[in-house]
């Protein structure tokens, strides 16, 4: 059986590939391939059905490494769900921990929110970014929030306005 393939123009945004064609975008480890463009070949047969992960993205493994799909292959559908075979050079950079830390420290200078978002993009970056974030903590309360949620509470000066899990001034929420 001939393997169907889909060609993308050079420079196609990866986000567009993911959103428009539902190609698998991975974040479980650094062994996956990613890139901005290239040939996409179907390799669905024999692989597991991708499940949305916590980020709402589709996840897939390399073929023949997991249990058989729970349904019969659908050629029309499977022609879209493919494994990308792109250059993984960007991820190889992230595997160098020193460089990843430098990247993380620079992103944190922009904003901590950006750093948190960066940590969510790839496991390669998760550890260096989170480490850098935890190296600098401005609030003791942030640290104490790692206690079980039942063991902490945030209230205003009156004790009436309780806000859980937010670093926002109570008066700001009431405004």
């Amino acid at each position: 059986m001939q393997t169907p393939s889909v060609k993308f123009d050079q420079g196609s945004p990866r986000a567009k590939i993911r959103d428009d064609l539902e190609l698998p975008v991975y974040r479980d480890d650094c062994s996956y391939r990613c890139g901005t463009a290239g040939t996409v070949s179907s390799s669905w047969a024999g692989s597991a059905v991708p499940q949305p992960n916590a980020m709402g993205w589709k996840r897939s493994r390399y073929p023949n490494t997991e249990a058989a799909p729970s349904r019969a292959p659908n050629p029309q559908h499977d022609s879209v769900r493919t494994t990308m075979t792109h250059d993984d050079t960007p991820l190889r950079v992230f595997k160098i921990s020193e460089l990843a830390r430098v990247i993380a420290s620079q992103v944190i200078l922009i904003s901590k929110e950006s750093a948190v978002n960066l940590a969510r993009t790839c496991r390669c970056l998760e550890e260096p970014v989170l480490s850098t974030l935890w190296e600098t903590q401005e609030l003791l309360s942030t640290l104490l929030k790692v206690l079980p949620e039942a063991n902490w509470d945030i209230g205003g000066t009156t004790g009436d306005n309780t806000v859980r899990g937010l670093d926002l001034p109570v008066e700001g929420l009431n405004a």
Binding site: L143, L144, N151, G155
Partner: protein
């Protein structure tokens, strides 16, 4: 101002989790944004590990405020290499309230100086009220100190000790030269700093090594 409270008695595993994260912290910034219930601080102190909550903390920026005076010592680590001290923004015009000066002085006297390399005191903190506690901090500083910047007047002994520290390459202090030390500008010291491109000079009431 929001108040953080610890509710109930967290398990030892929960405290261990806090300590694991706290052990990772190298730098922190204390200001007046949060207050803690007295029971919260009591629980923190009761469950403090033997090495302290922040054994790896190296860089502490402390903006003195009434709300953090009660717990800033939790952040004192023997590995602190850089301490920066400023005051609450609300005191910029009126100055530090007289009634909390003893508490500040008491806290300053416990600053760890074993590994201290840099001590910066904001120009907002001036006057002679903190002269003695800051002088005692300077006297406890060792050869690791490379930078000292403060406008708080120091005692003669503290100034003398300070300028004899071998690795002090940035020093800005205000006040007259020590009266009892005629050898304040030792030729050997001057040549040492000239060699590294810096000079030591006492310009009126300001001494600087740059």
């Amino acid at each position: 101002m929001p108040q953080f409270r610890i509710v109930g008695d967290p398990s030892p595993e929960a405290w261990n989790r806090v300590h694991r994260y706290a052990s990772w912290m190298h730098q922190t910034y204390l200001d007046q944004r949060w207050t803690f219930g007295e029971d919260t601080l009591t629980k923190l102190r009761t469950n403090s590990p033997t090495s302290g909550w922040f054994p790896a903390l190296q860089d502490l920026f402390w903006r003195i405020a009434q709300s953090n005076l009660s717990y800033v010592d939790l952040f004192f680590s023997p590995h602190l290499t850089k301490i920066s001290i400023s005051t609450s923004t609300s005191w910029r015009s009126s100055g530090v309230p007289y009634e909390i000066l003893p508490a500040i002085a008491s806290t300053l006297s416990t600053l760890p100086t074993t590994a201290l390399q840099s001590l910066w005191v904001s120009p907002l903190i001036s006057g002679s009220a903190l002269r003695d506690p800051l002088s005692s901090v300077v006297l406890r500083c060792g050869p690791s100190l490379t930078e000292f910047i403060s406008t708080v007047p120091l005692s003669d002994a503290a100034v003398d000790h300070l300028i004899r520290l071998p690795h002090l390459f940035t020093c800005r202090i205000e006040g007259p030269p020590p009266s009892y030390s005629p050898h304040i500008c030792l030729p050997s010291r001057l040549s040492q700093h000239s060699h590294s491109g810096g000079t030591l000079h006492w310009n009126g009431f300001r001494c600087s090594i740059d």
